[in-house]
């Protein structure tokens, strides 16, 4: 089969065109370097469009007492102090400027009476902090960044999948992949590569994530020798749709609760009163998800295994104005009018707190020339992310990654390309066409989703996790022999056959890390170790490839400086 490839050259290559990738591209371009962006879908379809509730930034437009210190404190508390304190600090300090910048590039947020950007309440945030556009904030953000980037002149390579990072000695030298449309191969030479590929939700059966979320960037970085960290922390959003079957997992924005939505079990009890009497529905996501799950497990769930979420006490006009997408989503897909009755909701795999280990200031990974930002990177969110902190994360660290990657590119020569690495990548991609007795990628994918859903879900234990590891081994063997039918022309079966490898690598990292961490913290709940363990609170699990094998290394959590520690002391002092 044809193994020829075309070549493109950039100073900075960005993999992924969601919020982080586009923000990085805009910043790198402003530094005067040549920027290319590669994405698996069409431009503007990245998972950022699905973000609904808002961007967390302490602008103090609604609650004037808000400031970066409070945002920092909320973020650290939400993450159970496993966050990188410096990232949490930078994020809280810079988010307001990033939001203003979006507005100056044409984004139109909802307004306050006095004409400023309106902010709404969200789980775990002390003040009303989420800048929003109804319940389609992500769409507004990606369209703004997309238009800005296109007019500045970034080169976008749409519907292109990267299958391998290339190295020149220790440093990154580019990336190799294929055009999804024609199936032809393509080489990108670059001095810096930024990974902005998002998360791994598609390894679970019930997920809010799109097909693109197959952990590509994390797997690429891992294979290239970079460190992954905190991989056990997978966020299950408390409220996904549960009925009908085809929509299971589709996100129901936290903004429903932010706007006053109430959770009840089948007996009509407002059960959050028992789990978090103070914050109720606006508790952190890990806690609300576990509460719903527990209600269902103990027999108090709804007909289709969820909880009721009710906003119908608000006026129909208000609901349609503040939650228009939710209104249409339920009406059209589930025959439920949310202005008149409750929604049925349950937990759905939503977000990966773990990812590529990066430097807080520059977003540089442990390999020279490799950077990562957004969900693909780790650090800001610790063991549990607060709603709204993801969009701000994309902007703050996307910008920093773009800046640092451009600086790195300016200081280095174009690295050399090693033909043998390309040869290997080509062989890997063509192998599934040669298989005669292997299985279908769709069946392997379904089996992987069952394994992760049933054994590496919200509540975990030693036995399940060990079984999951065992099953993952079997799935890896099957994937090595996966068989693809048809040609290379836009062939989704072939595309999935590759994505499976990434999903398996990342799923294994999640499972091994979860097995090792013998405590419950944030989104990681071990039934056999239900409490917080102070010793585990001081260390991260780092996953790295050593001599071809996945290896776990414990690394200390960097200690917060005294001035920041003081912020927590002040607040807990008696008033």
């Amino acid at each position: 089969m044809n193994s020829k490839y075309e070549t493109h050259e950039h100073d900075v290559l960005i993999i992924g065109a969601g919020g982080a990738g586009l923000r990085a591209a805009i910043e790198a371009l402003a530094q005067g370097v040549r920027v290319g962006v590669v994405c698996k879908s069409l431009l503007g379809k990245a998972h950022t469009v699905m973000a609904e509730g808002g961007i967390a930034a302490a602008m103090a437009n609604v609650d004037t007492s808000d400031d970066w210190r409070t945002h920092f404190r909320d973020t650290m508390r939400g993450g159970k102090f496993l966050n990188n304190w410096r990232m949490a600090q930078i994020h809280a300090q810079e988010a307001p400027d990033r939001v203003r910048e979006l507005e100056q590039w044409g984004a139109l947020f909802d307004r306050t009476e006095s004409g400023d950007i309106l902010q709404r309440a969200f789980g775990g945030h002390t003040f009303k902090r989420l800048c929003h556009v109804g319940d389609r904030t992500g769409l507004e953000m990606i369209r703004t960044l997309q238009d800005r980037g296109v007019h500045l002149g970034i080169d976008v390579y749409m519907e292109c999948t990267i299958t391998r990072l290339l190295k020149d000695g220790d440093r990154i030298s580019g990336a190799f992949g294929y055009w999804r449309e024609q199936g032809r191969f393509v080489l990108f030479r670059a001095k810096s590569v930024i990974i902005c590929t998002g998360g791994i939700g598609k390894a679970w059966k019930i997920t809010s994530n799109s097909w693109e979320y197959t952990g590509d960037g994390m797997a690429l970085a891992y294979e290239a020798g970079a460190e992954l960290m905190d991989m056990e922390f997978v966020q299950f959003h408390p409220t996904g749709m549960v009925w009908p079957p085809g929509v299971q997992g589709i996100l129901v924005t936290e903004a429903v609760r932010g706007e006053g939505g109430i959770l009840r079990n089948k007996n009509g009890e407002r059960f959050m009163e028992r789990y978090d009497p103070k914050k109720l529905e606006l508790s952190t996501r890990d806690l609300v998800a576990r509460s719903i799950y527990t209600e269902v497990r103990e027999g108090r769930g709804t007909e289709h295994g969820g909880a009721f979420l009710d906003i119908s006490h608000k006026s129909a006009d208000y609901i349609k104005r503040k939650l228009p997408s939710m209104y249409h989503q339920f009406l059209e897909l589930a025959d439920v009018d949310i202005t008149k009755g409750p929604m049925e909701v349950g937990p759905t795999c939503h977000y990966m707190m773990g990812g590529i280990h990066v430097d807080a200031e520059t977003a540089q990974a442990s390999i020279p020339g490799l950077f990562a930002a957004g969900e693909a990177a780790v650090g800001l969110h610790g063991s549990n992310r607060l709603g709204g902190n993801s969009l701000s994360d994309l902007l703050v660290f996307g910008r920093r990654a773009g800046l640092a990657a451009a600086q790195h590119a300016r200081q280095t020569e174009m690295p050399a390309i090693d033909a043998s690495q390309i040869e290997e990548a080509v062989q890997q991609m063509l192998a599934p066409f040669e298989q005669t007795d292997g299985g279908s990628p769709y069946v392997i994918h379904q089996d992987l989703q069952s394994t992760m859903q049933n054994l590496v879900g919200i509540f975990r234990n030693e036995e399940d996790l060990a079984r999951a590891l065992n099953e993952l081994e079997g799935l890896k063997t099957r994937t090595a022999r996966v068989r693809v039918e048809g040609s290379r022309l836009f062939n989704p079966g072939w595309h999935l056959a590759w994505d499976l490898r990434s999903m398996l690598t990342v799923s294994e990292a999640v499972t091994r890390s979860a097995l090792t961490r013998r405590e419950s913290r944030g989104a990681h709940s071990r039934i056999d170790y239900p409490g917080l363990d102070d010793a585990w609170g001081k260390k991260h699990n780092v996953v790295v490839k050593k001599a071809g094998a996945m290896t776990l290394v414990e690394t200390p959590v960097p200690e917060m400086p005294d001035d920041l520690k003081q912020l927590f002391a002040e607040e807990s002092a008696p008033k």
Binding site: S41, V150, P244, P245, E332, L333, D335, V484, F490, P492
Partner: protein, 246 residues
């Protein structure tokens, strides 16, 4: 178990034909679910685009029983199931394979539109009422169904002279932005060819986001072009004063 038949276009730019697939029905099933079932069980190389499966990204556009639709929002139980459901690619764009079409033309049109350009020295304050008007246009998910249904593109193939409804919506969002400071009337008239539109409102009918494309975007833009280029009184004044509108 109840079943339905989908008659799906299989082929590429060389041509193709509809192939029938039997699919088991599940409560609440949408056409995209059925297509995924076909991929997993009958035709692993069936090409289609999708992302969010929640009507939010605008990737899964196709023509279901001849009507441009998002397949993720088209319920099977809303269609007559006693006959095959036809699923064809968008006709206004060249086929790449099966349901996947080449929509790259749209991205080149977009580049012609001057970006948001705020007026100088403004306070960043806006009234919700002014924002509401523009937010309607900003809801657009770029599914390109309006482009697909528009006869100027679909039947008359005026792609080189006409921008299509999607880009009138985009231009309107910029023109009506409360803080924008440039006029795009010349672009609307000459580059996007708004004169070709004879307001049949087909675009408005197929918009999954219920944007009133014709009434709220196209007609006001046509009025701007008329005001700027064809107002007889203004033309006279300009002739006398020799002044150019900036």
């Amino acid at each position: 178990m109840a079943e339905a038949t989908l008659s799906v276009f299989r082929g590429d730019q060389q041509g193709g034909t509809a192939v029938d697939y039997r699919v088991p029905l599940v409560p609440g099933m949408v056409v995209l679910d059925a297509l995924h079932w076909i991929q997993a069980h009958s035709a692993p190389d069936l090409a289609l685009r999708w992302n969010c499966k929640a009507g939010r990204c605008g990737s899964c556009s196709a023509e279901v029983n001849g009507r441009p639709r998002l397949t993720c929002k088209t319920r099977m139980d809303s269609l007559p199931l006693d006959q095959p459901i036809t699923v064809f690619p968008m006709k206004a764009f060249p086929v790449i394979k099966d349901l996947v079409t080449d929509v790259s033309w749209n991205f080149t049109v977009n580049k012609k539109i001057p970006p948001f350009s705020p007026r100088r020295d403004i306070a960043w304050k806006m009234d919700q009422r002014d924002v509401d008007r523009v937010q309607e246009f900003r809801k657009c998910i770029e599914c390109f169904l309006c482009q697909d249904v528009c006869h100027v593109l679909r039947d008359h193939c005026k792609q080189t002279q006409f921008g299509g409804p999607r880009f009138f919506v985009r231009t309107a969002s910029l023109e009506m932005h409360p803080l924008d400071g440039v006029s795009r009337a010349q672009v609307v008239k000459d580059e996007l060819g708004i004169g070709f539109c004879n307001i049949t409102k087909c675009c408005t009918e197929v918009c999954p986001e219920d944007i009133h494309i014709t009434d709220n975007a196209i007609i006001p833009l046509k009025e701007r072009v008329v005001d700027e280029y064809y107002d007889p009184l203004l033309m006279l004044v300009r002739k006398i004063r020799g002044a150019q509108k900036t």
